[in-house]
Symmetry: C2
Subunit: 189 residues, 2 copies
Amino acid sequence: MKLLKDRIIKDGIVLNDSVLKVDRFLNHQIDPQLMLEIGREFAHRFSSKPITKILTIESSGIAPALMTGWALNVPVVFARKRKSLTMNNVYQSTVFSYTKQETNTLIVSKSLMNKNEHWLLIDDFLANGQASQALIDIVQQSGGTIEGIGIVIEKTFQPGGKQLREKGFHVESLAMIKSLENGTIIFDE
Amino acid sequence: MKLLKDRIIKDGIVLNDSVLKVDRFLNHQIDPQLMLEIGREFAHRFSSKPITKILTIESSGIAPALMTGWALNVPVVFARKRKSLTMNNVYQSTVFSYTKQETNTLIVSKSLMNKNEHWLLIDDFLANGQASQALIDIVQQSGGTIEGIGIVIEKTFQPGGKQLREKGFHVESLAMIKSLENGTIIFDE
């Protein structure tokens, strides 16, 4: 997606050989018009699938997932990272974040998931695939069907995307980065 | 906002005399079309103000804030609830959540705020006003101007809204609830 890649080049900051900071348009400050275009692009790429709901993870997945839900006209559910006092009866799975060096429990209320749903999973980044695996685990617990996985930025030099595709999941990444070495962003065309 | 109040009546769950659960359309599952209408309504209500950016709080504020940002064509910044490894140089303020019975530190990167910005603050709920006060504190640290505060659901039987208006802030709440007693939602018309 050219619009996104141009924005990554303009506003992305390479922190080290594996971390790209996109705080200016995706996961701290958000550009709503860019998110709308991202939502339209995901809707287009998964247009042949009978998607009935979207699942993402708080917080950085919410913006692209919301716009995709708007474009596909389906509800968006975001997995929470810990249990709040008003939540009972949840599906859960654990995820380790390499960026934040912490383990979170992802939680989704059972009342929002059932075996007849066809899910599109959306997330901001795909690197080692831990977060996607946790979302897959949660959908599988609910008995629902996973129609695809939409990723805003995939780091193809990390193994998550390859592993998901080898398992047969339909993964669409809007920007694929094959290297951040020496402070330079190189896309995987 | 009639669309929102109808949805609260249809899908809101009164947990006790002070807690309304809106997990089916606002803060766990999100209805994108409703969020778009909420965004348009906030844009309309603050149309006379020279807003240049929106500030909200992860996670439940992101959806209404994003759609308001889309409608006003301005960026959206969400305050994070703890420090991530890739963030330095932040404004911060603490907030106590009565619902979750926990204290969080809200953090916004200094690089996203400057004294020339005119801010609209957006949040999902207004009850005791702790979260709004923390956002106000952060904007004031940055030297920016607060043009208004947009709230999806205000509980007018709690003091936050009254206190903010007495301080001179322009507060717009799309649904105002004056009582949740006996399991019944009564709106403040």
